[in-house]
């Protein structure tokens, strides 16, 4: 199973490396949105720093939607769907492989956004560095949920517009827990319960995905 997970992830990342959608489209979109957020909250550094965690996670969520949409599109044509089905791969391995590739992409863009947040929204470097493990956990949870909801939306002719409507409510726990954990680091308060919430969400989405992905593929 691990071999198949790695094969699927390697394939998705190779496609990304070729197309460079993350580098030339997704990352610039995220950074531009972050700049706009900075402009929207005004020039006061203390206000920007106070709102930075929430703005960061909103931008990360928007970026996630683009990455999920892109990943889902890789297997959206009828011909590719059929050829993947014919390979008879274990659906659980496909689910985890795609989530792994998405995690690598989201963690990369998320790290770039974190640097942007430090520079543009005046968050301390210490808080940004300390929140990195939380970002990895949050992006892993977003990836697992994203692959699941991307698959559900892909079965619709209006996948691009259906995906945000389906996925954003599911992302709410990740958004809240991530923002609270980041804010806790900024104001130096305990963050354990938010990390716990993220961990529970991660396990829940991984379990649901492993159970349902095969049925979603067939539908």
């Amino acid at each position: 199973m691990i071999r198949l997970v790695l094969l699927v992830a390697q394939k998705d990342l190779l496609i990304e490396r070729r197309s460079r959608v993350l580098l030339w489209q997704v990352a610039p979109f995220g950074l531009m949105t972050l700049v706009l957020c900075g402009l929207a909250v005004g020039p006061t550094a203390s206000t920007q720093a106070r709102l930075a965690p929430g703005l960061f996670y909103i931008v990360l969520t928007l970026v996630s939607l683009l990455v999920i949409n892109r990943t889902s599109q890789l297997e959206s044509s009828r011909g590719t769907v059929t050829s993947i089905q014919i390979l008879g791969m274990d659906p659980g391995s496909v689910f985890l492989g795609k989530a792994l590739a998405m995690w690598v992409q989201l963690a990369t863009v998320g790290s770039a956004l974190l640097v942007g947040t430090t520079v543009l929204l005046h968050v301390s470097v210490r808080a940004a560095v300390l929140t990195l493990p939380v970002l990895l956990l949050a992006s892993a949870t977003l990836s697992l949920a994203g692959v699941l909801y991307g698959r559900i939306a892909a079965s619709s002719a209006n996948a691009g517009t259906l995906l945000p409507a389906l996925a954003l409510p599911a992302f709410a726990p990740v958004l809240i827990a991530g923002e609270r954990a980041f804010s806790s680091l900024v104001v130096a308060s305990p963050l354990a319960r938010w990390v716990w919430l993220l961990s529970v969400a991660l396990v829940a989405y991984a379990s649901v995905g492993l159970l349902l992905y095969g049925a979603l593929e067939e539908s």
């Binding site: 198949l4 094969l7 699927v8 070729r18 197309s19 011909g79 050829s83 014919i86 390979l87 067939e218």
Partner: protein, 213 residues
């Protein structure tokens, strides 16, 4: 033992019947050509044989797998499929696509380069699929059949988009496969090349109208 045995199989898309009570037996090492007008159910029958469609009524086995159960997923690993649409990742090259497919199915990776060479794509083997013509993409599919060596070949209009050289190559491949023990089922709107000795299955309105050897 029959390669496929279908009994009164009905396949629907929503409430629309794609196949309406198909009863059919396919014998080993025989080439079958399915003919019929547009919408007669040719592609649906191929998809059923590949385990890609679930019957809503009836029963059947293909290569010993029950197509009414979850064995359909296992069946897919034993058939080769060539459809109308491009079935590879557009951003990956033929070599990368075939390596991914071979590694996931346990096929021989070393056979990929000779197969691409055989179908005349040695010089284009590292070019992304999206830059290949429809005929060249078909040739990549042919190379995959050579690597995979499936027991049951299912091909939807395989001669479409191929030039004369490609058609000759495909015919040679089909004859070789049949000689080596494979069963081939293909659909066609036109006449097959004379070297293909095929039994005929005529479909009308989702039913088998006639089977002639």
């Amino acid at each position: 033992m029959a390669v496929a045995s279908l009994c009164d199989v009905v396949v629907t898309a929503g409430s629309f019947p794609l196949l309406s009570g198909v009863t059919l037996t396919l014998e080993p090492t025989v080439t079958y050509v399915i003919t019929g007008s547009n919408g007669a159910g040719k592609t649906s029958l191929l998809r059923l044989l590949a385990g890609l469609e679930a019957p809503s009524r009836g029963s059947g086995t293909v290569l010993g797998f029950d197509i009414c159960s979850s064995q359909r997923r296992e069946l897919r690993r034993h058939v080769g499929w060539l459809g109308h649409e491009m079935s590879f990742y557009a951003d990956l090259s033929p070599v990368e696509n075939l390596k991914f497919a071979a590694r996931t199915t346990g096929a021989d990776v070393a056979a990929i380069t000779p197969a691409l060479d055989r179908v005349g794509l040695a010089q284009r083997s590292k070019v992304p699929m999206k830059f290949l013509s429809a005929g060249q993409q078909r040739r990549v599919s042919m190379a995959w059949f050579m690597v995979r060596r499936p027991q049951l070949w299912l091909m939807d209009e395989p001669y479409a988009s191929l030039d004369d050289e490609g058609r000759d190559l495909l015919s040679e491949l089909l004859v070789t496969a049949q000689t080596s023990g494979a069963t081939i089922v293909l659909t066609s709107h036109g006449l097959l090349p004379p070297e293909i000795d095929a039994a005929s299955i005529v479909m009308v309105g989702g039913r088998i109208a006639k089977v002639a050897s």
